[in-house]
């Protein structure tokens, strides 16, 4: 279980405080979203409840950007005044720098900066709330969706796949909303603002600076395209290498037992080398972008210095203007870089959002009927009437099955591994809907009941013990919403679990850890039986398989199961001879079909498949003891 979660973590991009930064989106091959506009609109829909706050964010962003864009110009004015004063001194004038003017400007500047920084902070502050709350809503919707999905959905996918959408993709959306949205606003505004400011100083110089734009865009695009091939190579090699690692580690005992260590290491080195070849090239490509962008920036710097200097000498502009321009050209490059990397990031995010929406659009189970029938005091009578079912439409499974189970009877389901015994469980619990016929509990068709109501009538103890990370008490109490302490202990006693729980240092408060490794398989089984006792169902579904359980605990489990079955209608996936022989009805299954049914004696007499199985399994024991 946690290995899947670790795998998910491995695939996620490393989260950094400074976000993905300006370089974040470069180079990685982009998965294009299939319906960009539609998904974008839908995502925006999630932002709608925060409309007013968003408007403030945009407003704050505008103010912050405007003020920060005006700054350099003002600073330039101060510098010019200083320069003028300086030149005046040089020329021998008595008064030098006009400190009144300079002081004035500087004070205004400080005010400007305070306002700008505050609004910048306000913007981010509000955006944090908006972004996180939006993702909160998305997560909640995804989880809510899960509870409405048919089991078919979960059975046909790996957990890794589902978790990847719920976790990684939502992570992507969260990061982007948090950082890139505000970045987008400020970058666009900055670019526009800076160009405007530059134009007010000198259109010639503006052209000089703007000329660098297409240059940097082309360079980045070329590098990105070239490096795509390396990235793909890198990812592919990484996948193969990781796959090898996973396999060899999971099968470590076998590799050791068969003396394959050297071969395994050799193969790893080969894959590792292949990864290295792709990785350093991809790394270099990414690493090149920053210096080249810097160079283009410096080029502008030089151009501004030279041309600006020239223009000052012909008195076309002031010295302070040159300085302001330098600042502007520096300020210009960052939003440009951010915007170009953002294109990539936004693509990725919309692709992620699309996958999440796909999940949310999945078909749900048909809703519970209103009004629903109920069975207030279930007796435990089950009738299956000419029922047919198949998982896939073209592979028939159960056809025209009819059985009649009276309250308190025991039905044993027998068959080879993989014979489809769990199918019956799936249908009785209405995890899957039947195709034809009806299943009735105490005369009521199960489709007319609410699912919750139906499942309360049944109790399930399967071979696969599912316990969650919580206390033992909570796990046992899971059987019924408001189980009292008394009921819990009584159930544990009935399940022969109370004894071992009391040997644990924390008794019932012992926390079952994530993979439930602090309890043995047998103990877990006893707890699930206790849970079923708490639920006190009228009808029981039981799987007797108890492999990898020690003998003593197995005896306890059998006693506990026997007690649980007492007086209840039970469907048992049987493995023990005594269970089968005592069953009121035996269903022999093969490849999902019920091939024989009857009591033990009847089936033996029929000399069919059951008879074969019985003789091959149990007769040996009889022979040997003679």
């Amino acid at each position: 279980m946690s290995s899947e979660r670790d795998a998910i973590k491995r695939q996620a991009p490393p989260t950094s405080i400074f976000g993905r930064g300006p370089m974040g989106g470069f180079g990685m091959p982009v998965q294009k979203a299939k319906d960009f506009k539609g998904t974008l609109r839908r995502l925006m829909g999630y932002l709608r409840p925060h409309q007013t706050k968003l408007q403030i964010v945009v407003g704050a962003g505008v103010i912050a950007t405007v003020f920060s864009v005006v700054g350099p110009k003002l600073l330039g004015k101060a510098t010019t005044k200083v320069f003028e004063g300086y030149l005046a001194r040089q020329a021998g004038a008595a008064t030098g720098i006009d400190f009144g003017y300079v002081g004035n400007i500087l004070t205004w500047l400080v005010v400007l900066y305070v306002v700008s920084s505050s609004f910048l902070y306000l913007q981010q502050y509000l955006m944090s709330g908006i972004a996180q709350k939006t993702v909160y809503a998305l997560r909640r919707d995804v989880e809510a969706k899960f509870s409405k999905m048919p089991l078919k959905f979960f059975d046909s996918r790996t957990h890794g796949e589902i978790l990847s959408r719920a976790v990684n993709d939502l992570d992507n959306i969260s990061s982007t909303l948090q950082q890139n949205l505000t970045q987008l606003i400020s970058s666009v505004l900055s670019v526009i603002g800076i160009i405007v400011m530059m134009l007010t100083i000198s259109w010639i110089m503006t052209l000089v600076v703007l000329a660098s734009l297409p240059l940097s865009v082309t360079i980045v695009a070329t590098i990105a395209k070239r490096s795509q091939a390396y990235f793909i190579r890198q990812q592919k090699a990484l996948g193969e290498m990781n796959g090898h690692v996973a396999e060899m580690y999971s099968g470590h005992a076998i590799v050791t037992a068969f003396g394959h260590e050297e071969r395994s290491v050799g193969k790893f080195k080969e894959l590792n080398d292949r990864y290295y070849e792709g990785a350093w090239r991809a790394q270099f490509a990414t690493g090149m972008i920053f210096p080249i962008m810097m160079f283009v920036g410096n080029l502008s710097y030089v151009a501004v210095a030279v041309i600006g200097g020239y223009l000052v000498t012909i008195r076309s502009i002031a010295l302070g203007d040159v300085q302001a321009f330098i600042q502007y050209s520096r300020q210009f490059s960052m939003p440009i870089t951010q915007l170009s990397s953002m294109a990539n990031t936004i693509q990725l995010t919309i692709a992620s959002a699309e996958r999440v929406f796909e999940l949310l659009d999945e078909a749900e189970e048909p809703a519970d009927p209103i009004p629903a029938s109920t069975v207030p005091t279930p007796r435990g009578e089950v009738r299956i009437d000419h029922m047919s079912f198949s998982y896939k439409p073209d592979t028939p499974l159960i056809e025209d099955m009819s059985i009649d189970v009276q309250p308190g009877q025991m039905v044993a389901i027998v068959g080879h591994t993989g014979a489809g015994k769990t199918t019956l469980v799936n249908l009785l619990m209405r995890f899957y809907d039947i195709n034809a016929g009806a299943i009735r509990v105490d005369g009521v068709d199960i489709r007319e009941m609410t699912r919750g109501g139906l499942r309360k009538i049944f109790g399930m103890v399967l071979q696969d013990t599912w316990l969650f990370s919580g206390t033992i008490r909570d796990n046992i109490a899971y059987g019924r919403e408001d189980a009292t302490e008394d009921e819990i202990v009584r159930a544990a006693k009935a399940a022969h679990a109370d004894h071992f729980v009391r040997t644990l240092p924390e008794n019932y408060n012992t926390i079952i850890n994530e993979e439930a490794t602090n309890l043995s398989q047998g103990q877990k089984q006893l707890l699930t039986i206790a849970r079923a006792f708490v639920a006190d169902p009228a009808i029981l579904i039981l799987d007797e398989a108890t492999s990898s359980v020690d003998t003593r605990t197995e005896v306890l489990i059998q006693k506990a199961m026997a007690q649980l079955m007492h007086g209840r209608t039970t469907f048992v996936i049987a493995h023990r001879l005594s269970t089968i022989r005592n069953a009121d009805l035996i269903l022999m299954m093969e490849q999902g079909r019920i091939v024989e049914k009857g009591t033990h004696e009847e089936l033996l007499a029929a000399s069919g498949k059951y008879s074969d199985l019985y003789r091959s399994q149990f007769s040996k024991l009889v022979e040997a003891s003679l």
Binding site: F18, A131, L151, E247, F258, Y276, F295, V312, S616
Partner: protein, 575 residues
């Protein structure tokens, strides 16, 4: 973390080159404002356009030098970091591959995978950052200070005063933020756990109609995480505005102080302009250094995890002077063997003694925790004993080469493990040189030929990673075929028939019996039915041998054996 630097040794020359190039790049960049100042002082002020052009040309040159150095530095650091990562990964994998089985079990498989892949990448990435920034950033800061000092000392003092203030602001914010980030990771893990449990336990949740409960659990975790994330993000959003404000304040101070000095005739205008540039560069590098420090703890954690693996020396090794077994074949002897897992309170096996010869079938039975699999694992020397000896063909297994020992043994584990490839490659894993006929024969004995022939590609049918495209029973049969194709002296079947139904199990045992008449067979099982016909049954209880003998005798004399038998069938069948 520093321990890992030893892996950088082979890259010494490249690292030196990277540092030198980074230095060159910093110096060249730092020189630009200086040249700018020169343009002002020597070109603009005296109205000398030619000087402007000359200095402009120099600036261009410097820019080119800086870029070239930067690109070069990038190139070499990419190679160094990637090479470093590759070497560390190689070392980890090699080390883990040679771990003994129980050393391996000390770490979980998932954690080892993460250490080999994810953690190495983390360290690698930090290395790159460090190489490019560890020189550049301080260089820029120090160089900037020096150069501005050379321009004008008083002005430079403004800058020097600002840096620690900025540093303190960042430090304070980070100090609060980092623990919050760690907490956030914990909450993310919690959320994923709840989600994951919801997926794995979907049947149970619905069976007990506890959907509402699960939703509440999820919502609690969701809310918790969201709250934390908002707090963290709000805290971190202070950084940018703070930095910008400080930078701008510095600029204002520079102009003010500069104006005073210029007016007093103590400074040139160009110096003021240059100082403004330096201020920005310096503050930016301080920012970068802080960013780097943030990534360090995470990388340090990864480095620690890697070192934890590398520090473990494989404890099952080949002897200095290996002994070869003679002509004896298939003789396995346990001589008063005691084994205790390290850190365990009680021995898993104590005082186990028996001799098994070629042609005999020895069964080992007992409940879980009785020591069965441990005993089986001692034969191919998965672990070394604490007391007594394990001898194969008359030689203590510790005195043999592991390769030689394992070549004698065909081992089938409890849970079948297959590898990606084809059915044929999986069976050949047992012996690469096996011919097609031998492969088919092994598969037939293992009762696998039937289902293989039903597949359209037959023996070339693909097996996916972990063998997930095959059923449990099919995997087990292939694992058995894999062992059989070895034509081993000794076979060890560790509860390997648990996924098979009774009929197939019986057929298998019959086929095995005729196939392995010359070999020594060990069968570990919990089913009486499987062990009943063995020549010798060893009954284990709590690590001790409580009975050795044939089925008929044990039923009468061994209480534990009888207990096991009784619980598996009704009394009359067995008595």
């Amino acid at each position: 973390m520093l321990k890992l630097f030893v892996f950088l040794k082979p890259f010494r020359a490249s690292v030196a080159l990277v540092l030198a190039l980074a230095l060159a790049q910093s110096l060249a960049s730092l020189y630009l404002p200086r040249l700018m100042a020169d343009i002002v002082d020597h070109g603009i002020v005296p109205d000398d356009r030619r000087q402007i052009m000359i200095y402009g040309g120099l600036m261009l040159l410097m820019a080119l030098v800086s870029t070239a150095a930067s690109v070069g530095s990038s190139f070499f650091s990419a190679k160094v970091a990637s090479g470093f990562g590759r070497d560390v990964r190689n070392r980890i994998f090699d080390r883990v591959a040679h771990f003994s089985v129980h050393q391996f079990d000390r770490f979980s498989t998932a954690s080892l995978i993460t250490r080999t892949t994810n953690d190495t990448t983390q360290v690698q990435q930090v290395l790159i950052m460090m190489m490019t920034m560890v020189i550049t950033a301080p260089m820029m800061a120090i160089g900037g200070i020096i150069l501005s000092l050379s321009q004008d000392t008083r002005l430079a003092r403004v800058l020097i005063a600002v840096i620690p203030i900025l540093g303190v602001i960042f430090f304070l914010i980070m100090r609060k933020a980092v623990p919050l980030f760690q907490l956030m990771q914990v909450k993310i893990d919690r959320l994923n756990l709840v989600l994951d449990e919801g997926l794995t336990g979907v049947r149970v949740i619905r069976a007990f109609d506890r959907n509402a409960h699960e939703s509440r659990r999820f919502d609690a975790a969701n809310l918790d995480l969201t709250g934390n994330a908002i707090a963290v993000n709000r805290l971190v959003s202070l950084l940018m505005p703070a930095m910008f404000f400080m930078m701008n304040l510095t600029s204002v101070s520079i102009i003010y102080v500069g104006a005073l000095r210029i007016d007093a005739g103590q400074m040139h205008v160009g110096a003021m302009l240059a100082s403004l540039q330096y201020a920005i560069q310096i503050l930016f590098s301080v920012f970068m250094v802080t960013a780097m420090f943030v990534m360090l703890p995470r990388a340090a954690a990864s480095a620690e995890r890697i070192n934890a693996v590398l520090d473990v020396i494989p404890d099952v090794n080949d002897p200095a002077a290996p002994v070869s077994t003679g002509a004896t074949r298939g003789r396995v002897e346990f001589d008063n063997v005691t084994f205790q897992y390290p850190g365990a309170e009680e021995p898993a096996l104590s005082g186990v003694s028996f001799i098994a010869k070629a042609g005999e079938v020895t069964a080992i039975i007992g409940g879980t925790g009785s020591g069965k699999s441990t005993l089986a694992g001692l034969i191919p020397r998965f672990y070394d004993v604490n007391g007594g000896r394990v001898l194969v063909d008359g030689v203590d297994v510790r005195d043999m080469r592991q390769e030689d020992l394992r070549a004698k043994i065909g081992y089938v584990p409890q849970k079948a493990v297959l590898f990606s490839g084809t059915i044929a490659t999986n069976i050949r894993f047992g012996r690469e040189a096996a011919t097609d006929d031998e492969v088919t024969k092994a598969a037939t004995v293992a009762q696998a030929a039937e289902f293989i022939d039903q597949k359209p590609e037959g023996y070339a049918a693909p097996v996916s990673q972990g063998g997930t495209n095959l059923s449990g029973g099919q995997k087990q049969r292939l694992a058995i075929a894999r062992a059989l194709v070895r034509n081993a002296e000794i076979y060890v079947f560790d509860d390997s028939c648990s996924a098979l139904d009774f009929a197939t199990d019986a057929k298998l045992r019959t086929a095995l019996r005729s196939e392995t008449t010359a070999a020594t067979v060990f069968i570990v099982s919990q089913r009486i039915g499987t062990v009943m016909n063995a020549d010798r049954i060893i009954v284990l209880d709590d690590g001790q041998v409580v009975g050795i003998g044939a089925h008929g005798d044990l039923i009468k004399t061994c209480a534990v054996y009888r207990e096991i038998a009784e619980s598996q069938a009704s009394l009359e069948e067995v008595a």
